[in-house]
């Protein structure tokens, strides 16, 4: 005893109505596969660690209380830069205006 296809389709249709799924007997591509997927953006955007509290923040926070934290790394860096500058190897000064037209030689 075989069941006619139309009857089966009716059954599937009723099923779809009951469980509120999409009735798609032809199996047409709906693009639901893409829309159903979870968004990947939040996971990808969280790859690099974000900026946390720095020593400078601590200093700013506790300075009114008269407490001071030594920023050893930062101090070393400044010292290094000062030493370079003393030797004439420092970074050039920032220009305040865009360069004018070049003078001909």
């Amino acid at each position: 005893m075989s069941v006619p296809r139309a009857r089966l389709l009716e059954l599937v249709k009723a099923q779809c109505q009951l469980f509120s799924t999409t009735f798609n007997p032809e199996g047409v591509r709906t693009g639901n596969k893409i829309l159903r997927q979870r968004l990947r953006g939040p996971a990808l955007a969280a790859y690099y660690p974000r900026k946390m509290v720095t020593i400078r923040d601590l200093q700013a926070e506790f300075a009114p209380l008269g407490l001071w934290t030594e920023d050893e790394k930062g101090d070393d860096r400044l010292e290094h830069i000062a030493a370079r500058k003393a030797r004439g190897k420092g970074a050039p000064k920032k220009k305040s205006a865009p360069p004018g037209p070049k003078a001909k030689k």
């Binding site: 693009g31 953006g41 660690p49």
Partner: protein, 112 residues
């Protein structure tokens, strides 16, 4: 692309221009992801060659920073783009250094 760069510096790892660029791309993709999904999933009835082509065109019209294929995992210790171990987000050499120093929990140098 400076319009995608965050106005305030927000990275806490090793930073160079490539890392900042990759970070901006990640954030641009996150912002544009729902917009990208619409042409990626053409509707059922008219999934013809034409609609497909139109959808493809729409995707190519979007800025390249919103494309997920632009994103590359980079080393958070040195910014390198190659030989990065996904689980540790570190390039192989930085991973070795940190592992030997004992900075990575549960990782030990093998010896037998």
């Amino acid at each position: 692309m400076s319009m995608f760069r965050s106005k305030k510096f927000d990275l806490g790892c090793f930073t160079n221009v490539k890392v900042i660029r990759d970070h901006s791309k990640r954030k641009a993709f996150e912002a544009a992801e729902p917009e990208r999904q619409v042409p990626s999933s053409p509707p059922a009835k008219d999934a013809t060659t034409r609609t497909r082509a139109v959808a493809q065109l729409q995707l190519t019209q979007m800025h390249c920073y919103t494309r997920p294929t632009q994103i590359r995992n980079r080393c958070i210790m040195g910014g390198k783009g190659r030989g990065v171990l996904r689980d540790f987000k570190m390039s192989r050499f930085n991973f070795r250094m940190q592992a030997v120093l004992g900075n990575i929990p549960g990782v030990k140098k093998a010896s037998w």
